[in-house]
Subunit: 332 residues, 4 copies
């Protein structure tokens, strides 16, 4: 099957999960080569572009999609394998948007203090060395950081007719902002509506865990993904699989609830993978799970619970589809 | 200087930070070889020992100490370098204490549901292979996990005359339950009272991030540490340093507040290390920090913010004392 | 102007704010007489009806509406005055839905414990005495409680193309579950889309603050309301006004964020009402505001901040429209 | 029995619950007439006194006490009936302490923003009219508010050897900052140590719910109280009783946990008062409880759950001791 390429026009960008007509129907197994605009809608191109003047928070994280997956029905599991993520521009941008981010009061954690200075940083991509360059705005400090491309948003339409902003991470995926959503990872999402209606966007050239200031090194991205459909088996919350880890992502507030959600989802998964009693799965994960924060800044906070495969007996999630997708991706 | 050895008698165990007379005075630079009892006070020695019958939550995490550090005054910085942690018993224990832990209602997150089953697991240490063995209680699943010794509690007396249970992680350290508190790490704690009055305990033979069920593989521990004193420079919250990372630990509730505390402490540290403006430090850490959850189960939740040294220019925290302590530890 | 009456057919019920076509256009000033179905969709009619068998949480809080208000544009303020609320049935129902409510783990505060017993209570309305009768399910305890009708949900379409479940309270109003939304109260909502698209539902025959178990005395309701439109002046969050109080409602998570939102909204309102400096408004409300929790059980928690008018100089919010609507309501 | 009077000298003030020697032993039934210093230690006497210069947050809320109650043992219940609260000065003070309060970032909700302006307000007491006068600092707005004296702190020594700052509300009472702690109220506290070691302080001439800016109208207070001892029956969390309400206070973080604690404590109390099954108590309180926030600013947030006696059959808590204390107080 040939890869399907799609680059949205500006008027085709969507800003929600759910609520938009599909841009095309794809068959399970399709390889997609997708271009996505940066989270700021290309509004910040120099350090003189201020987010307060150029960014409208109702219209950020423009999505490429949604795609209608033939045959996908509520209760099914969509498996999206990320084959490759490559920056589509030679620079990325980050900004401290007033009253947005992790170390400032916001419209939710609402205080009376003045906002932090509205500041923009531009990072240049060094393709040869695979680095992005940080330049301080207030001193002459510079440092080159490894390019580590990831997708901030990946998700399907929510259930119950809801339509959610692409700023929101939730049960349907969305703006989870996890560095684990990178090349080599398979993302499992429960299907809520016919066709699943998934989309991607919010490419990051790199990001720390937590995405402290609210914006990563935001950049347009070329993504190669393979879409597969598993009938039934929908996980309650997003699960991820890489060659090295099984993972689950919880997104809610307060952050301990995000942790609880991810941890319970992993307990369920370990019951399935190893035929464990709930209490044994709980105990085993207590001694083995990793728990990185993905984002501490969005409408919901996201926490990833990770289990390293090499600690456990060999097991096959979703009938081993991740390994199969890895094989296919290596033949592209 | 010869190492000072100390093994507390049962009646010398203390269960608080602050509020106890020092067991001895130590000079800065002293090497201490300490034995600590397990978190359960040796009450759980087989899977038939139930925590509801044998564990009193007011008296867990027995501390070895406190030690009075000669010359330590409020505002100083105590540097405790962990040279070695070795299990002092051939087995460890873990348990799901009723209404205690991360995936159950508690006395704080108070619900009306019945408790989870009170269950105990015993892990056997394989010294040769450096493994601990998990055995499921409900099926015949078994798996050997790498031994990764760490200290759940390390702290000093709090300020303002407070005395806190050794179950609590806070500004003064305490029950942070971070896997980063392991051999090779230097822990920096602000001194609040004359002599600092630090203690350690709650040895874990291994633990996942979050310590989901509330108890790690709990075991008696032999700890070798070096105590140093830095005049002044007290960090607001605990900082850690290893050969590979600078770290800060925030402990509060809700968990986003723990993250915020740790992140702000790292912003401050990066301002100091690299002469950065606050906004540049904020931005740089946004793209580089790691943010593992340490515990999601204690009286306060703890989050570690980590920065990998190899991403940044060389810098020396606290005049390079970590490197110096590493050198000294290799000569022991 | 004659009152407009509207009783939705079952197939006209909607379960979202946003996302539904208006059922009619109303002119500002219109008196509406509306019937609304109970929150359970009439699924629980005896104590033998179990919510786990009969209630689908994706389709609760059926809305009557939405109504398109002629001339309403984004940035305008919708004023909905509640003239009268009268139970439309002789009984109401309440239930402890498994994993739903305030004293149980939920899909968000996710634990491993068993659910509480799925239990239904039926309350009989005594119209003459204006009471509803509580009958214990496990003993013969009975008590008659005053009928205090209120609307659990009242809201407009969200901004940015979002569509939200009628279980959610938010900036657009929605499922705030506040006992203050009763006869005599004017609700001010910022308009986000043309026509505002407001709806009401989730009638409660009475409810304590917090709505602890997740469901009030739920009942079909006959509501008489007057709809008015104020050009501009949209509050950031819902404001309420009664003859005795000015109020603002914050809805988010954790609950302290709900409190913060409501408190900041009241600070803003006091700046407007009395020409106060922000710090003086903050101080004055510190000594005078009431802060009842509205709900502790929904997708977001809601807190009401109330200021008693009789403590302050006379002031007119929104040009005195509340007093005007009270006058009009008394002439109906 | 004659009343016992006690006015601490400055060097007798204590700043903790637990950790201080009793100032005297009192017999159950004793009437105490106590003077307490204001929360700021009399440091703010004019609007020109800035809290950043004059207030040390480690030493605020000076306590009058602790008192050793003869015969009090762990597991007993201390009943403190508040007979009268009268301002001991003709003025009170309030302040927005930098990085302290509800609408500012703090050392816990740690952000990078600048603090709010450090501002002090002085309120004059009009004894004849029983009012305190608010004067805006930035405009000429003035308003007289009713004097409503209350105690911000009332508590006993904590269990387990802990010593807690008098800024903290907890299971042992402490800095709950509830307007319900006023004349006519009986406060029930579980005894944790021999003699109970209770103290009072932090008098407020009035306070809104939430104590938004972090400080009420703080003033020295003359308190008349009666101390009684009930053998056994210790509530898990503080309970209050007035002629009109039964109440419980939860104090923790996040605020939903405070609500949960108070609500569960009231469910337990209703089981006791009316012989109700837990699920029926849960249901009945869902439709009847009030839930005012007490403080949203302290080390823990406090929420009060209230049940109006007039809604329920007559019942006697703690063998009717509140009514008995009311009778005694009227004969003083």
């Amino acid at each position: 099957m040939d890869a399907v390429e799609y680059t949205p026009r500006r008027d085709q960008l969507v800003y929600t999960f759910g609520g938009a007509a599909p841009v095309m129907t794809v068959q399970p197994g399709t390889v997609l080569k997708l271009w996505s605009e940066d989270a700021f809608n290309h509004a910040l191109t120099s350090v003189d572009d201020l987010s307060s003047e150029k960014v409208d928070l109702r219209f950020v994280n423009p999505q490429t999609g949604p795609f209608y997956v033939a045959g996908a029905e509520p209760g099914d599991t969509l498996a999206i394998h990320i084959v490759d993520l490559t920056p589509a521009r030679s620079w990325g941008a980050s900004a401290t948007i007033p009253f947005f981010g992790g170390l400032t009061s916001t419209d939710r954690t609402a205080f009376l203090q003045e906002p932090l200075p509205d500041t923009t940083w531009i990072y240049h991509v060094d393709t040869a060395r695979q680095m992005v360059g940080f330049q301080a705005r207030h001193t002459d400090f510079e440092v080159a950081l490894p390019l580590e491309p990831m997708l901030g948003t990946i998700g399907v339409a929510p259930p119950g007719g809801e339509v959610r902003s692409s700023l929101v991470p939730e049960r349907f995926g969305g703006n989870m902002d996890s560095p684990e959503v990178k090349a080599g990872t398979t993302v499992y999402l429960g299907v809520n509506v016919e066709g699943a209606l998934f989309s991607i966007g919010d490419g990051h050239y790199r990001q720390g865990e937590g995405e402290a200031c609210g914006t990563a090194v935001e950049g347009a991205m070329n993504s190669t993904i393979i879409v597969e459909l598993i009938k039934g088996g929908a996980p309650a919350w997003p699960r991820l699989e890489s060659d090295s880890h099984w993972m689950a992502v919880g997104s809610s507030r307060p952050m301990e609830d995000s942790w609880r959600i991810g941890q319970v989802e992993m307990v369920r998964w370990f019951e399935e993978l190893f035929g464990l009693h709930q209490m044994d799965a709980y105990q085993l994960l207590t001694q083995t799970a990793l728990a990185p924060i993905a984002n501490a800044v969005d409408a919901n906070y996201s926490v990833v619970i990770k289990a390293a495969k090499n600690l456990f007996p060999r097991a096959h999630a979703f009938d081993g589809i991740h390994d199969e997708l890895r094989r296919r991706s290596q033949n592209l």
